[in-house]
């Protein structure tokens, strides 16, 4: 994982101590981490390891479990695709007995299959299907109660699509890109301009990057000096 995933530049020292030290197991630090999650949601920041630390505390202390926090964490993790963040979160969601301490019914069991399906669509790069499902009536609850709180959620999904497009295309038709980003004509033009990309007759040119430059190469052998030390040392000895 890139260094910014292991330790995002926006992470404060306090959070760093919690994430990297044994204090991460202390339930009394939970509220600090939960506040940090809400900060991430408001400020379009993201810190996977800190959020996993919350799930770890829930795993060990089922009585602290807060389904809204879990759903927010999963929503944030969705937009990290194709990194495995969403699955890493799911791995920590242990089987839990029906929680009698909650005042309201637990929303997670009914939303979890939905979130998993959204994740699956993103991971399979089925962006038009993602938007269709996301905007369906069925998902009204998720939109109205959760993703609306998550500032820039839809743009973050667009970034997932952009990552896939940038790696795969040198030029892409405007219609296709519009369907991936769920943007109409003028919105798309604005979006493309903001990226600084060029549009030529309904085709968008994706700037060169390490993934959309292809070249047939023959990988030649590289001999390092270290491999030859014995041979050279022997010659010197004689």
């Amino acid at each position: 994982m890139a260094a910014s995933w292991v330790s995002p530049p926006t992470r404060t020292e306090l959070i760093e101590d919690l994430v990297s030290g044994v204090d991460r197991y202390n339930p009394s630090n939970l509220s600090i981490l939960e506040d940090y999650l809400y900060h991430q949601i408001r400020s379009q920041e993201y810190d996977c390891l800190a959020n996993l630390a919350i799930l770890k505390l829930y795993q060990f202390n089922p009585d602290l479990y807060n389904p809204d926090i879990v759903i927010n964490i999963l929503t944030k993790a969705l937009t990290a695709s194709p990194l495995p963040d969403f699955n890493l979160c799911i791995s920590l969601l242990d089987e839990r007995p029906i929680n009698a301490t909650l005042d309201e019914p637990d929303p997670l069991p009914s939303l979890l299959p939905t979130l998993k399906r959204l994740n699956d669509l993103l991971y399979k790069c089925r962006f038009p299907a993602f938007w269709e499902y996301y905007q369906s009536d069925e998902l009204e609850n998720l939109r109205d109660n959760y993703t609306v709180e998550c500032v820039g959620f839809e743009d973050a999904v667009r970034e997932v699509a952009i990552r896939a497009v940038k790696a795969t295309f040198t030029r892409i038709s405007a219609d296709r890109l519009a369907s991936y980003l769920d943007l109409n004509g003028s919105e798309l033009t604005e979006f493309v301009e903001k990226k600084g990309w060029k549009m030529e007759e309904n085709v968008i040119v994706i700037p060169p990057n390490p993934d959309n430059q292809i070249e047939a190469t023959v990988v030649q052998e590289n001999i390092k000096l270290a491999q030859l030390t014995k041979v050279i040392a022997h010659s010197a000895g004689n």
């Binding site: 197991y25 390891l49 399979k124 040198t170 296709r176 014995k230």
Partner: protein, 616 residues
């Protein structure tokens, strides 16, 4: 023999009278008559009576211990008292197993209380003895709930003694045993959690005991032990100082009075590996790699001496990489340990843990097959071939994609994955909730909540791997078509595949995604660190509706072969040059000398050739 036992029974604080003690010393086993008279004394209260009965049962048990075993225990105790590592190692690795085979293959070893007279009631030795006693119960017999609780208590006593004595304890134990202590502690935790999660098979007694169990084998208590050992030993500081090239004096300064003692240092290191394992069992793959931050994975590490530890380390690290979708890193990890196991085979076939090691190796070949199907690599043909020999059929199905792939992934994953656990017990302390679970007709207590796959944590992790694998299921077919072209219209490709063009374009994006992976780079700090790299030799790009393809090839590698043979020839030449010349007058000796030269050269050269062949 009699004298020490006097002292020991005298220290017992129960109210047995003097006669009884004397009797216990000399005449164990032949004392029925004497005891009868005692029993008939009417004024003995019930507690005393029970104590006596227990005492007699112990005597009877003691009498049944074969003399060689008694001798072994006395000797073993002596070796521990003297911190005599070679003798302890012999007793631990060979003696214990020998007498297990001979006398206790199907029964427990004598209880610690029974053999206590042989070891002066030495509390520390008795804790160590119980450690072995319970380990034997877990590995050969079926532990009952008392065994499970008591083995936990015994482990706690041991760790309390090590961690909470005033200053470091003077005890020394072989590295192998120290590893086994940590390894067994986690193993017993894991089997307890698995056993605990099966609500339906519990008797009423067991339900009561589990309800009152409290912190017994709780995740917090297990983590607490491991973190405490790591902190007490300052092992991370030790590793960092060591890597920074500090002198032994400087290191001693850094690690303090506990860390300088090998016992604590080893336990600290093994606890890091233990944490890696516990985090994996609990499904926390990032944290598992994070605790390994300071550990350098290379085979020069001093801990490769404990083979089982090295093998476990690589197995769990490799598995974490799979769950982090870092297949190239997983492959690299498995290849390096599987080659090492192969090279070391001649040494560890003798190890009493050989079976365990080869089982883990076999599971790694299965995991290797999974990784290689998801991210084909040519890192090591030798390991790939062995993996294909063992799992060829499954590999073909996984690598081909399509609908046969999922069952093959499932089969190999469930065979080779760690024994995952749930962090928490079913609600035994809440009798209403537990009875609700017991009354459910389904064998799976939470099927109504999270779906069937959530009951068994292994299935939860499997479903994640499967969703990943199934997302890539069209990649092998696409790849086989793209390989035939340098450019190709998307529509034409879609026609070949009998697929919708737009859907196929989306699959191509998946294919592109699957050919990139975060990979560890040399010099990167920690196992989580890495950079995105290309993992496929087939690259392509889409220009509007035209797919352009480029394939990279690897030129033949000659250098390794030439370097190896040059070195070999140099050695041969040196050997020849250093041979004394045959003296002319002793012509008849010349052939012998020549033969000996030849055989010597052959000897020194042989292993090199074998290694070369392995790598080529």
């Amino acid at each position: 023999m009699a004298q020490p036992r006097v002292a020991l029974w005298a220290t017992e604080a129960d109210d047995m009278d003097e006669d009884l003690q004397d009797m216990s010393l000399g005449n164990y086993g032949q004392n029925g008559q004497y005891d009868d008279t005692l029993f008939q004394q009417p004024q003995i209260d019930e507690a005393t009576l029970m104590a006596m009965q227990q005492h007699m049962a112990q005597q009877a048990a003691f009498a049944q211990i074969p003399d060689v075993v008694k001798g072994f225990i006395v000797h073993f105790h002596q070796a521990v008292l003297e911190n005599n590592l070679p003798e302890i190692t012999v007793a631990y690795e060979s003696g214990w197993n020998k007498y297990t085979e001979k006398f206790y293959a199907r029964t427990e070893w004598p209880e610690a209380e029974v053999i206590a007279p042989l070891v002066n009631d030495d509390p520390i030795f008795l804790i160590l003895y119980r450690e072995l006693y319970y380990r034997h119960v877990y590995s050969r017999l079926q532990p009952n709930i008392d065994d499970r609780f008591h083995s936990y208590e015994n482990s706690c006593e041991l760790f309390n003694y090590l961690l909470n004595s005033e200053g470091p304890v003077q005890l020394e134990l072989p590295e192998q045993w120290l590893w086994d202590i940590i390894d067994e502690f986690i193993y017993q935790f894991q089997v307890f959690c698995t056993w605990r999660s099966k609500v339906k098979s519990k008797t009423d007694d067991e339900l009561t005991m589990l309800a009152d169990g409290g912190p017994v084998w709780s995740s917090y208590s297990v983590l607490n032990v491991l973190y405490s050992l790591i902190q007490k030993s300052k092992i991370n500081e030790y590793i960092n100082a060591h890597q920074a090239g500090k002198t032994p004096e400087e290191i001693a300064e850094v690690v303090g009075e506990f860390g300088v003692r090998p016992l604590y240092r080893h336990l600290g290191y093994f606890s890091i590996i233990g944490l890696l394992r516990v985090h994996v069992l609990l499904g926390d793959f990032t944290l598992a790699l994070k605790v390994m931050e300071n550990v350098e994975l290379n085979q020069k590490s001093p801990y490769t001496r404990v083979t089982a530890c090295t093998v476990a380390t690589y197995y769990y690290v490799g598995f974490c990489y799979i769950m982090l979708r870092r297949y190239p890193d997983a492959i690299r990890t498995f290849v390096s340990i599987l080659n090492w196991i192969m090279r070391m085979r001649q040494y560890h076939t003798r190890s009493y843990q050989y079976d365990q090691i080869s089982k883990t190796a076999d599971r790694m070949y299965a995991l290797f097959a999974i990784c290689n199907a998801l991210s084909p690599s040519r890192l090591d043909d030798n390991i790939a071939n062995i993996s294909k020999e063992r799992y060829g059929e499954q590999f073909m199905k996984m690598a081909r994609g399509g609908e046969d792939a999922a069952p093959a992934f499932k089969e190999l994953f469930l065979y080779a994955c760690p024994k995952f656990i749930n962090a928490n017990a079913p609600p035994y302390d809440d009798s209403a909730a537990i009875h609700a679970l017991l009354d459910q007709p389904s064998p799976d207590p939470s099927s109504t909540e999270f779906g069937e796959s959530f009951a068994d944590p292994a299935h939860r992790h499997l479903s994640l791997l499967l969703s990943e694998a199934l997302a890539q299921t069209s990649v092998p077919t696409l790849r086989s078509f793209l390989k035939l072209y340098t450019s190709l219209g998307a529509k034409k490709l879609a026609n070949f595949l009998d697929a919708d063009e737009e859907e196929m374009v989306q699959q191509l994006m998946v294919m592109k995604q699957a050919s990139r992976s975060v990979t560890h780079v040399p010099g990167g700090k920690g196992l989580l660190d890495g950079q995105t790299a290309t993992t496929s030799d087939l690259n392509f790009v889409i220009n509007e509706n035209m797919v352009h393809i480029a394939e990279s090839t690897v030129g033949r590698r000659y250098a390794g072969w030439f370097i190896k043979n040059t070195e070999r020839t140099q050695r041969l030449y040196d050997d020849l040059k250093n041979q004394p010349l045959a003296v002319a007058s002793k012509t008849e000796n010349t052939p012998t000398a020549a033969v000996s030269v030849e055989s010597k050269v052959a000897r020194s050269a042989t292993p090199k050739v074998a290694w070369g062949a392995v790598k080529a």
